[in-house]
């Protein structure tokens, strides 16, 4: 366990030094929020500045969870890093454990930075418990993309992992209503996306203090599918 934690610590440090992570998961949602978010018009039952804060926090957590591990795992399998680790006393699941924990840790700053901007700069108001529940709910919801990233990393090689991520990333971000509020047919489709429902969990908590079972069911259903994909990809890659 000690060995695994050592690897995990270093893996976290590497992500925090990674430019792609800093741009997509930290800077981009923060900049977009500052540029667009300062608006008190009511959207989906809450002020736009709260709506967009949640959207950008979801987006940042989602981007961080998706982009890092998928390409990293694919690359490290290709370069022989995973082989190299197999020649050390590190336990068999230590590598993937480290990757998952790293994602769980590195999604936290994405949420916190945007929440801090909302609370401190744009004066978004809600009860303290709502801030806390929102942060935790978003963080938990982003976990489903941690599994998807593992699935992609073990299924694709570095060259194809990038397009594969983009193919999932843009529909999930746009149809999930994370970049702009959806209307009409887009909203009808978007409802079925986990990004949409993860975001809706947040707005529901602010507006009514409750969440709908439907939102949770949709997020969990996607989570189950992604987790199954992750297990299948991981197993088949390990057997090669």
């Amino acid at each position: 366990m000690n060995a695994t934690l050592t690897l995990t610590k270093l893996d976290v440090l590497r992500v925090l030094r990674n430019t792609r992570y800093l741009i997509f998961a930290i800077a981009m949602p923060a900049v977009l929020y500052i540029a667009i978010g300062n608006n008190t018009k009511e959207t989906n039952g809450v002020e736009f500045k709260a709506y967009y804060m949640l959207a950008m926090a979801t987006y940042g957590a989602f981007a961080g969870a998706m982009m890092n591990n998928s390409i990293r795992i694919a690359t490290e399998r290709k370069t022989g890093w995973t082989r190299q680790l197999r020649l050390t006393p590190l336990p068999g699941g230590g590598y993937v454990f480290s990757k998952i924990v790293t994602s769980l840790v590195t999604t936290v700053p994405s949420v916190l930075v945007v929440f801090a901007l909302g609370g401190l700069v744009f004066d978004v108001h809600m009860d303290a418990w709502k801030w806390a529940v929102n942060a935790v709910a978003l963080w938990l919801a982003s976990m489903i993309f941690v599994s998807l990233a593992v699935a992609i990393g073990y299924r694709f090689d570095p060259e194809t992992a990038q397009p594969a991520v983009m193919l999932v990333f843009f529909p999930m971000a746009i149809l999930g209503g994370l970049w702009f509020p959806l209307e009409g047919w887009m909203d009808k489709i978007g409802k079925w996306f986990p990004t949409y429902q993860a975001h809706k969990l947040g707005t529901d908590i602010i507006s009514s203090g409750t969440v709908s079972a439907g939102s949770i069911a949709i997020v969990l259903a996607w989570g189950a599918v992604f987790a199954a994909l992750a297990v299948v990809s991981y197993r088949s890659a390990r057997e090669q």
């Binding site: 000690n2 060995a3 050592t6 690897l7 270093l10 440090l13 590497r14 030094r17 990674n18 690359t75 490290e76 290709k78 370069t79 022989g80 890093w81 995973t82 082989r83 190299q84 197999r86 020649l87 050390t88 006393p89 590190l90």
Partner: protein, 319 residues
Amino acid sequence: MPRDTRSPDGAVVEFENVSKTFNSPKGPVHAVNGLTMAMQPGQTIAFLGPNGAGKSTALNMLLGLSRPDSGRVALFGGSASQAIKHGMVGAMLQSGGLMSEVTVKEQVELWAKLHPRPIPVSDALKRANIADLAERRVDKLSGGQQQRVQFAMAIIGDSPLIVLDEPTTGMDVENRQAFWATMRERALEGKTVLFATHYLEEADQFAERVIVINKGRLLADGSAAQIKAGAGAKRLSFRLPGVADEVLYRLPNLVHVERQADIVRLQTSDSDATLYALLDAGHRPADIEIQGLGLEQAFLAITAEDNNGADTVAMEGAR
């Protein structure tokens, strides 16, 4: 597993009738074919073979990265994964990657923490001649520098078996010497050092034992001197204007003939007999030189002979 547990006969590495076959579009390829060998503690062993001889396949099985189809592979009398789990193996793979976004020191420190009995990180950096690179990012280093980082990782666990695949590729002369000096120290400490290399002069200089495989089978196993002697190989060269090819080909104990105008170079398994026959036939060659062959020529001779299906009588001494 206590540190000194070895199989009853004390072998660090054992291959017993090991075979591994891959399927290719052209049919099955017998990468390793009934390979049997054993390595004892404290030996420095060069593992040689032409491309496609099955070296990598054998090393992968030795390290437990792939399983043999049949036969038995053992490290310290047990499985490779058990040996690795107990930090008994330090390995440096050709295909082994490094981390990105970490410094040399962080990378080597990680390896120290993954192994149960590491030597100090600063020692490993010094021995691998990368102390001055400690704060540099691993992914910004040259190939030869990265090779040295891998070298530090292979020795930091203080493991009784060190396996090196093409360890000096990309290193300059100075680093290559430092590398071998360190490996020699490890062997003196009683560690078993197994290395695969393309640089046959390194095998000649540093290995007390040379194992040659070809077509997945053991072809020769002995000291470099034994292998050279067994390859039968001496080079006999002289100047003899106008000599007919038939005369040369009729000479006894020939392995190879090469002509360049008046200069004739013969490779022969018995230079005395060959030379006497030439003299007996009435020829008077000038500038006679007889030279023992290096390991490289011996290696080429025995693998060529094996590939041509020629009988391997000349190799008997080395087996």
